[in-house]
């Protein structure tokens, strides 16, 4: 333990610094005096004796310092000294400090906030046991139900069971229903329904993930081994807190979802949000209950009702390649083994070509990630550039200040301070600046994070993502802060200490050093301008894309339409029952009769809500051949509500009932695909893959094409069927209104509740907003990049202003001489402005190729224009020039107001 007692002695010394220094000094003085006495006794004169003693002793100051260093605290002492000194220096030039801190806080804050979101969406691993061992079958980017043969994205429950039983590569296998059921359920004993997001999972879900409950038990395989008789639920910690006020007696509480009452058997741990990033179910229910949980999807025993995601935990030592070959072997075997497999030529060919891709799911599943990974990366690059510009700015300010301090630094160097010591001091000052800026930045980020999440959520409830500041984020910020300090502090520090000592000391200002510094400052300004141009053009491109997206013709009139969701299945209605149809018709009639309402209709979908599609068969087509068509199931008033123009034939009418001929209205594009040569009216086709007679429909009308899921999409095949003939559990209800939104929205909800007060109504908004939500990612990027683009330009202006002010001050006497020789004030003004314009032009010349190269990366995010869009490029350049000229005008004017007499006297 020698080192320990040594450390203790060192610490002791640190606390008794002053005492120790005094002791040492006394000791040394005694030594010299004793030596002097010795000499005097030997007969030397007192004067000489003192000199000799001092000579023999050596340089007292140096020896003191050496002894001091022996204790090993000098780094700390000099750091503290530098910090205190830096603090004083910051206070001494408050304007510089405020500008620097502000730009640092914005720069570091923006980086922290964006990284926080990026981390939450893309990088963070699931809070489960060994997430790296988790593998997903397929790519995880599909959700819904399909009966398509040999799909690799979604699987049926019987398929999952066979895969679970027969594979040799997974220690555990689990299935997740690919959709979350948005249910309006009742907590046992309550009469008001509340929204609950239910995630159906296999009984093995929690054991596969290695997640334990904090109260009660998890689901187990037995909960999932026979259909319909395991009404149990594990609830999320957040929901336990929110809805049950953390009731410790939670295991005796029940839930009613649809017609079934469920026992709560456990509470998941607080950090566990499921397996989909950006979605946080309130509860998990075994898949055996799939038909009981509204909207009652079913398909538990159906070999080809494919709606599940399957994940497995790799056995130790099994590679992903081994897993892949085993899974693909079983994929074929299981599908071919199903007795009801339709082994047509086409399907067999498809099976032969299909390979199940395996995807690591350490970071979980996320549709959010697909939508936002590119925008977030772009934004990360944008804020990094902004921070770089801020760094250039601060470097410039520090350079200017170090010129003002050059005398001080020269004196210190002349007195023997080592250059490294001074550089260290200047860097410490920079670090201090950066750290204070970083602290402000983190404070800013904690607010910006929530704002960002709201923007990303696109006006709905905030996406459940944890974007709070955690250790990981703080480490990132700390790293950024240190990097920042190095970037903006290093060059000025090295510059400032490279002095012509004598020149500096003599005149207080040295022409040579200054011109070198000028060049450096100008280079910094040029790079700022170049970077600003990149950001400005980027922002311009995104903003124009946004405008283009807003102006896309959707095919329907998105203005003045109210839309809301009515969850009839949670209120006990079943699709297709007469009671259900009557409810829909009654709501449509009563709402249509309201004042300020022109039309109202239910529909399966409107825009950007997913779709139901199937391969339809037109008589005369070859066997096995089909054309993919999207279907919408709507009320009689749908076309009127959406104002989709009818091009030929007739609209639906109340006489189209469940017993009349099955009819359909098709879109223009569908007409061209299905009936390229003939008039489509009166023609018929079959919806099925199975060609069942009840799936045969007759075309009664053709309407204009509409956008279905995405504003950028090409026209798709789409048909409309009346809900009287095709049962559907409706979500969507649309109302075309005039006047103000709020009173109409209130009146519509009142009317619905007057018909059945238990009908849950959600997502009351306008169609316009719903359309806008489909390009939330573009909007977020456009708004933020515009903000940061402006910030970049603003920072660059500060840079230009600072440098030019400095240049003007340095050249006061030159200007004075020129004016004395007869140059007019306008000429002086122009002289300075010209210099600014030259700087900015060089910046633009460098910036343009960089911009063109950089913007190609973002072409995916653009809509309706190319990354090389000349209008954007030119306008960004012009704006930059104008703004730079404004920033430079003040120093230029100052130059023109120089009084030659004063200027020359200065010399």
């Amino acid at each position: 333990m020698d080192w320990l007692s040594e450390l203790l002695r060192r610490l002791w010394m640190l606390t008794r610094r002053r005492r120790f220094d005094a002791d040492l000094e006394e000791e040394m003085r005694l030594h010299v005096e004793l030596r002097q006495q010795d000499q005097i006794q030997a007969g030397v004169t007192p004067q000489d004796a003192r000199y000799a003693a001092s000579r023999r002793f050596g340089n007292t100051t140096l020896l003191m310092e050496k002894s001091h260093m022996a204790w090993g605290w000098e780094w700390l002492e000099s750091f503290l000294q530098d910090t205190a000194y830096g603090g004083r220096a910051m206070l001494r030039s408050p304007a510089l400090t405020i500008v620097a801190l502000l730009s640092l806080a914005l720069g570091i804050g923006a980086n922290t906030a964006i990284f926080g979101l990026l981390d939450a969406v893309m990088l963070r691993t699931l809070p489960v046991k060994d997430p790296a061992q988790l593998i997903l079958l397929g790519k995880g980017n599909a959700s819904g139900i399909t009966d398509d043969f040999a799909r690799t994205q979604l699987y049926s429950y019987p398929f999952y069971r066979q895969m679970q039983g027969e594979n040799q590569v997974f220690s555990d296998t689990a299935a997740i229903f690919s959709m979350t059921n948005g249910v309006h359920g009742y907590v046992g004993g309550r009469t008001e329904s509340e929204p609950m997001n239910v995630q159906l999972v296999s009984g093995t879900y929690f054991s596969t993930l290695g997640v334990r409950t904090v109260v009660g038990r998890t689901l187990n395989d037995a909960d999932d081994n026979s259909e319909g008789d395991h009404p149990v639920a594990v609830i999320s910690y957040a929901w336990w807190k929110r809805s049950l006020a953390r009731d410790p007696n939670v295991l005796n509480r029940t839930l009613k979802l649809g017609a079934t009452t469920y026992n709560i058997v456990g509470v998941a741990p607080p950090e566990f949000f499921g397996t989909k990033v950006g979605e946080a179910p309130d509860m998990w229910v075994p898949l055996s209950m799939v038909k009981a949980v509204p909207p009652n999807f079913g398909g538990y025993k159906d070999n080809f009702s494919e709606s599940l995601l399957i994940m497995g935990r790799l056995k130790p030592g099994v590679s992903i390649d081994e897993a892949s070959s085993n899974v693909n072997l079983l994929f074929r075997q299981i599908l071919l083994g199903f007795p009801d497999a339709k082994l047509s030529q086409e399907n067999l060919q498809k099976l032969n070509k299909t390979k199940v891709p395996l995807t690591p799911m350490a970071t979980g599943l996320s549709s959010l990630r697909r939508q936002f990974s590119e925008p977030l990366q772009i934004l990360m690059a944008v804020v990094a550039l902004v921070l770089l510009i801020a760094c250039a700015n601060i470097a410039n300010l520090l350079l200017a200040r170090s010129t003002a301090r050059s005398r001080e630094l020269a004196v210190r160097q002349a007195l023997g301070a080592r250059r490294t010591r001074i550089i260290r001091q200047l860097l410490t000052e920079s670090l201090l600046l950066a750290l204070v800026g970083g602290v402000f930045g983190v404070a800013l980020a904690s607010v910006a994070n929530r704002l960002l999440l709201r923007m990303v959520s696109g006006g709905l409830d905030p996406i459940p993502l944890d974007v709070s500041i955690d250790t990981r984020l703080l480490l990132f910020t700390l790293a950024v802060t240190f990097a920042t300090a190095l970037i903006f502090g290093a060059v000025p520090a090295f510059r400032a200490t490279r002095l012509q000592l004598t020149d500096t000391l003599k005149a207080g200002r040295s022409p040579q050093g200054a011109s070198g510094k000028n060049a450096l400052a100008k280079a910094l300004v040029i790079s700022q301008v170049a970077l600003s141009l990149v950001l400005m053009v980027g922002a311009g491109l995104f903003l124009r894309s946004l405008v283009n997206l807003n102006n896309v013709d959707t095919g329907f009139n998105k203005e003045n339409v109210l839309r809301l969701n009515i969850d009839s299945s949670s209120a006990g209605y079943t699709a297709g029952e007469p009671r259900d149809l009557a409810l829909f018709q009654q709501i449509e009639e009563r709402v249509s009769a309201l004042p300020n309402v022109k039309a109202a209709s239910f529909s399966a979908f409107t825009f950007h809500e997913g779709t139901w599609d199937s391969g339809v068969v037109v008589p005369g087509m070859k066997i096995d051949e089909h054309i993919d068509v999207n279907h919408n199931v709507v009320g009689t008033g749908y076309l009127a509500t959406m104002q989709i123009p009818l091009l030929a034939g007739r609209n639906f009418s109340p006489s189209d009932t469940s017993t009349s001929q099955r009819i359909v209205i098709i879109s223009e594009h569908t007409a061209k695909t299905l009936f390229p040569r003939d008039n489509p009216i009166g023609r018929h086709y079959n919806l099925g893959p199975d060609n069942k007679p009840e799936d045969d429909v007759t075309v009664i009308g053709v309407v204009k094409d509409v956008k279905l899921d995405d504003l950028a999409e090409e026209p798709v095949n789409l048909d409309y069927m009346p809900y009287t003939q095709r049962p559907w559990d409706f979500g969507d209800f649309e109302v075309r209104y005039t006047g103000d939104f709020a009173p109409v929205a209130a009146a519509v909800q009142r009317t619905v509740h007057s018909i059945d007060r238990n009908l849950p109504i959600t997502r009351v908004t306008t169609l316009d907003e719903q359309v806008a939500r489909s390009f939330t990612d573009q909007r977020v990027v456009a708004q933020l990049s515009a903000f940061f683009g402006l910030l970049a330009v603003f920072l660059s202006c500060i840079g230009i202003y600072g440098v030019m002010s400095y240049v003007v001050t340095r050249r006061t006497n030159e200007i004075g001489i020129r004016m004395a020789l007869g140059a007019g004030r306008p000429k002086m003004l122009w002289m300075v402005l010209r210099e600014i314009l030259i700087l900015v032009s060089i910046g633009v010349v460098i910036g343009v190729p960089v911009t063109l190269a950089g913007d190609r990366v973002v072409s995916n995010m653009l809509f309706g224009l190319k990354p090389t869009d000349p209008v954007t490029l030119v306008s960004a350049t012009v704006i930059l020039l104008i703004v730079a000229a404004i920033a430079g005008y003040l120093p230029a004017r100052r130059a023109s107001l120089v009084d030659p007499m004063v200027a020359l006297r200065y010399e």
Partner: protein, 109 residues
């Protein structure tokens, strides 16, 4: 009078040995003693004694306490610790090994 610089690294050894011989000394006495015993051949730059003593204090080889000199002045007296004695042995044997080796090299010629 010709004075030789002491070989580098032997300053600790000299201080340790001197203290071991006498017991308790202050800085000036140590310097003086080294010079006298070496017949003024070994010349310590006297000041450099103090950084060395500081390091030895940290290492725990010596301990110090304040006392008064014969001339009634306050002085800091240094004393070997057990650790210091052990260090002295180490340094001595190391020194002897080196000297023996050097001697062998010189005599072989």
């Amino acid at each position: 009078m010709h004075r030789d610089e002491i070989p580098p690294g032997t300053l600790y050894l000299l201080i340790l040995k001197t203290l071991a011989r006498v017991g308790e000394m202050h800085g000036y006495e140590i310097a003086d003693s080294i010079q006298r015993i070496s017949d003024d051949v070994l010349q310590v730059e006297e000041g450099s004694l103090y950084p060395a003593l500081q390091r030895m204090l940290i290492k725990g080889w010596v301990k110090a306490k304040w006392g008064t000199t014969a001339g009634n002045r306050r002085a800091r007296y240094y004393q070997l610790t057990a650790l210091g004695r052990k260090q002295l042995e180490t340094e001595l044997s190391q020194f002897e090994r080196v000297i023996a080796a050097i001697t062998r090299v010189i005599q072989t010629a």
